[in-house]
Structures are given as C-alpha cells and as structure tokens.
Symmetry: C2
C-alpha cells in the first residue's frame, strides 16, 4: 500500500513535490490544497486533483502525510502548527534564527494530536545540517565551513527588483574559489563574509534609468550586498529570460579536523550539491522525509522532529534487510 | 559524567580509539584489553591502563561501551557476539558480503543481554553507506558510484608481500580522474572495474630477485590485480620507509539523479573524504557511535544496530536544543 501524500500550497516547491511523489513507487498523490480557486490551478500532471485548503479537514482520514509548501516568513509559522493538529506534516522552514520557536510551537500541537511534524527539511537546513553534525561528531577538533552556490538567491533578486528603475533582476551567489581551496588545503583559514562569496547580479533597467545610480544602490545595500564583492551586469529582458530563467543552486559543507596524539593527522570531509532546480531537489528531500514521518508515526512516535531525529533507515523505501545486504 | 569507553584489541585501530577518546570532552578511557601480556604493551598515552582480555568480565559494571578493534576475517565474527552478551559494543566489521550473517549472530546475543551492538561502523561501511542511502532516498531516479582512494590497501599490500622475492610492498588504490569527471558530468556512465581505479604498487625486491617475474605475478594476480591497470615501481627499502609509511585513504560517493515532469533536471550529490590516517579516522567514527550506543541503550534500546539505525542526534555531544539553535 502506498503512502498517500497531499500538498498544501502550490508554487514551485509544491510542483516539485508533485513530481517527486510520482518518482517514488511507494508514494501516491492524494491531492493539492490551495488558497486559490481549484479550477484556476494548472497542475504539472493532468490527473492531479486540486482542493480548496479550507476543505482539508474533510480529508483528514485519507491523507497519510501533508507536505506544507508555504513560505517561511508568514505561511509556515501559522500553517505548520495549525495543520499538525490533524495531520502528519513536513515543512521546509528555513529561517535559521527562528527554528527554536517554530519547533516549540509545532511540537506542542503535534504532541497533542499524536502526529509527527517534521520541520526544516530540505538541503540547508536539511542535508547540509546533517553533514555539519556528522562531520563535527567524528572530528571534534576541527572547523566547518558552508559555502552556497553557484545559485540563484530569490531574496537577493527580489531586493534588486525593489530599486527604482529596475524592471527585473536575477542574483547569483558564487563561492570564491580561493576560499574553497584554502579550506580544502586543511589550513582552517579565518574567512570573512566577503572572502567566501561573490554576488553577481543580472539587471534589466528601465528605458532611461540611471544605471550608475542603480549599480551604486545595489552595491551599498546593507545586509544584502554591502558586505560582499558584488558584480552588476545590465542586460536586456530578452537575455534575462533566455539565459537566467532556471533556478539552479548548490553548495559545499567542508570540515577539516585533526586526529592523533599530537593532532598530527589532518582529515577533510567534503559534501557538495550541484542542483539544476533548487525547488525540485528540496521537494525530493521533503518526500523522503514524508516517508519517514509516516513510518515513525506508525510506530507511535509523535511531536516535532528535525532531520537530526530521523534514523536514516526510515528514509529509504528498501527494507532494513535489503539495505544491510546491498547498500551498507 | 563522562562515558567510560574500553578498547578490545590494540593495533592501529585501537590506538586511534585511544586518541579519539581523549579528544572528546564527554568520553574517558577505562582501559585497553589485549591478548598480549599487559606489561609488554606500549600505549600512546602513558596513563592508559592495560588489562588482559581474559579478565574483562571483572569490569562489566565499569565499562559503558566497549570498542572492539579486531580484524573482520577471524576476530570480530567471534568477539562481537561473545562480548555483546555483557557489554554495549561497537565494531568496524567490513566484510560487506557477510554483514547479514554477522548482524544475525550479534543481534541474538545483544537482544538476550539487553545491550546495544553497533556493527560495521567506520567510513565504508559507515559514512559512505549513509551517503549512499541518503542520496538514493532523495534521488530515486539516479545512480551512485563509490570510488576509493587515493589510499593504501592493506590487503593488496599483503598480497604482494607474499610473492617470492618481495621484501616489502605498499599498494595505493587511485581513482581514475576521467571516470570521476564523467560521473560528475551527470552522464551516469557504465564503468568497469578497470575504468574506475588504478593500482599503484611500490615494491622492494630482494637482491638478485627477478623483477620482471615479480611484476608479471602482481599484474596477473586474480581478484587483486588482474582486472585493473596496475603500475609496479621497484624502490629501495629506505625509500619505502621514508615515503610510504603513512596510512592515508579516502574516496568519493557520488550520486547523479534526475527530477522534473520529464526528468529534465540533473542533480549531483558528492561526498568525499581525504584522510591522512585511515585507522585514526575510522576510530573517530567508532567513538562517535560509541556515544550513540551508550545513549540509545540508556533509553532502553537493545539489539544489533548499524549506522542506518542511528538518528544523527545521538552522535553529537551537544544537546538537541543547542543543535537546533546553532547547527541546523
């Protein structure tokens, strides 16, 4: 019997979940729940059913796990605790600083309902967090580094679009090769924000806009760009649409640590992702953790969980016996 | 209160555990148990206590976790089930084909005693296995590749030493760059054994030995070398001792998978290790899993476990709250 998964919220991430559910033999899509009028929603696959989010409680007994695909700023802090009252849920809450309070809110509701609520699932937080934990546990005398990119930062692209005279923009975060190589050398360098990443901006300016002024506003924008080496390139709307319509991302988690009686031996652990589609990859991680949430809840486990709380065996569709015989 | 760890078997791996226990603030060494006469054993740290393995049951209540550092061929199949009758144990059993039977033997004993027995811990099996599982669970439509090296293969070095006229030898397993790059390109190539790894052998021949014959015997040796491109280099004993006395190792686990309605997006997950000392790194993994074994057993969990069964949170000395706030 396959695991019935529903999607709450249908943007790029929700579409990615729709695709990922189809790739897994042991999951099937119950349906998509949206705030929009269901007849207006065009799904990736024509057979996918669409429901109004307000009706979701009618399907309480038909859904094994609900994957919540809202945004971290305003949707998830409300939706995840609310929906955990009635469903096993998985979200991709990624505002690192607010994870403890989100955890506490969600945990209270999920413990009351006896459901599992898996939060902050994806690749950072998510797979990158796992790699930070594993590497630090194994090499306590060391230092870890996380680099992001090359990839599109939606938040930084939006910040550029809010500048007067900007029609559209796309911002890439790019790790600095020299910094990556210094880390890989085992030198455990001290790296500033500016040392680690470059920000490259492709900007479409309105006709007659003052490009020098736009460039200056970008490069001096606090928090977003002021602390970085920022490259601004003005291009046409056609070029932006043709060359920069994808949503690639990725990055690196690297830990360098020492062992031995005199810390004389150096070890480097490196994990990297190179992703053509950030939302589709994140969605694929969500579906693997939806499988885990379902199985853990069947065993009577409830409450809020993160990737740290999930034994890897729950993520694989294969049996423990098969995994031990063929993957270990 | 720190976790009291004992070591059974004192070769390179046992010495690595002795060092790793010292690096972790929450673990302390109870002692080393050996088949040798304790007074003949020179420990890494002078304060480490050495006991006879035959006396180990006298210390049953003083040891939280016993790390068994014997060999997979003959020691661990006997020692791990036997010691699991009285101790939480961790081993690095690495004969992949025999893991299911080792698991069954150990599980029976550990369930009877109510102890945890963590088997096949290290980096392969171990951290590499974890990465194979995570990557496959996230990208089911894909293929994974494991490469080993550059590093010393003890088994292959030993095989060369058994040839007539060979005084000493050291064999390095080296991944083939072209194969690594083909995998990283996302092409999911079919790779033969010969395509993936080169075997480079540094050999010290006896005076007057027939080097051409030795080289031929190495290159045609079934299982060990015949299926590989093998390079043989004759060097002096002095050169071998000077340039090849380390025990480095490492490798790569790479999975390339597709997502999207038409599998149009490609993702690459790559995990790599570059290790100055294979036994010290393996020992560091063993100690992290000893921490997990201790904590899981305190919660009433017993039986045989592998890295797949251990939620990451058990591995870190940090509290779940601290991990969520600062690492996630």
């Amino acid at each position: 019997m396959s695991i019935k998964i529903a999607i709450a919220g249908y943007g790029n991430l929700g579409k990615g979940v729709e695709c990922a559910v189809k790739q897994n033999a042991d999951t099937e899509l119950f349906g998509i729940f949206t705030r929009r009028n269901p007849v207006d929603v065009k799904t990736v696959f024509p057979e996918s059913k669409v429901y109004k989010i307000d009706d979701i409680l009618n399907y309480k007994n038909d859904i094994d796990v609900l994957v919540i695909c809202g945004g971290s700023a305003t949707d998830l802090p409300v939706q995840t605790p609310e929906l955990a009252k009635n469903f096993n849920v998985v979200d991709s809450f990624d505002t690192h600083a607010n994870i403890p309070s989100h955890f506490a809110n969600v945990d209270a509701k999920a413990k009351e309902s006896g459901k599992i609520a898996m939060i902050s699932v994806g690749w950072d937080p998510g797979l990158f967090s796992l790699n930070r934990l594993y590497a630090e546990a194994v090499l306590p005398d060391g230092k870890d580094y996380t680099f992001w990119g090359k990839g599109v930062s939606q938040g930084h692209s939006d910040a550029i679009r809010r500048i007067d005279g900007v029609v559209d923009a796309r911002q890439y975060t790019i790790p600095v090769d020299e910094a990556l190589n210094a880390v890989r050398s085992g030198a455990n360098p001290e790296l500033s924000t500016r040392d680690k990443h470059i920000r490259e901006c492709f900007v479409v300016a309105a006709d007659g806009a003052n490009k020098a002024e736009i460039e200056d506003k970008i490069k001096t924008m606090p928090n977003y760009f002021a602390d970085y080496n920022t490259i601004v390139r003005f291009i046409s709307k056609e070029e932006l649409d043709r060359d920069h319509s994808g949503i690639p991302h990725g990055g690196f988690v690297i830990r360098c640590g020492k062992t031995g009686a005199n810390a004389q031996n150096t070890h480097i652990i490196e994990y990297s992702l190179k992703l053509d589609s950030n939302p589709e990859f994140t969605a694929s991680v969500l579906v693997a953790y939806a499988r885990a949430a379902y199985r853990m809840n069947l065993e009577g486990i409830s409450g809020c969980k993160t990737v740290y709380d999930v034994a890897p065996v729950y993520l694989s569709p294969k049996s423990p016996e098969e995994l031990r015989a063929h993957s270990l």
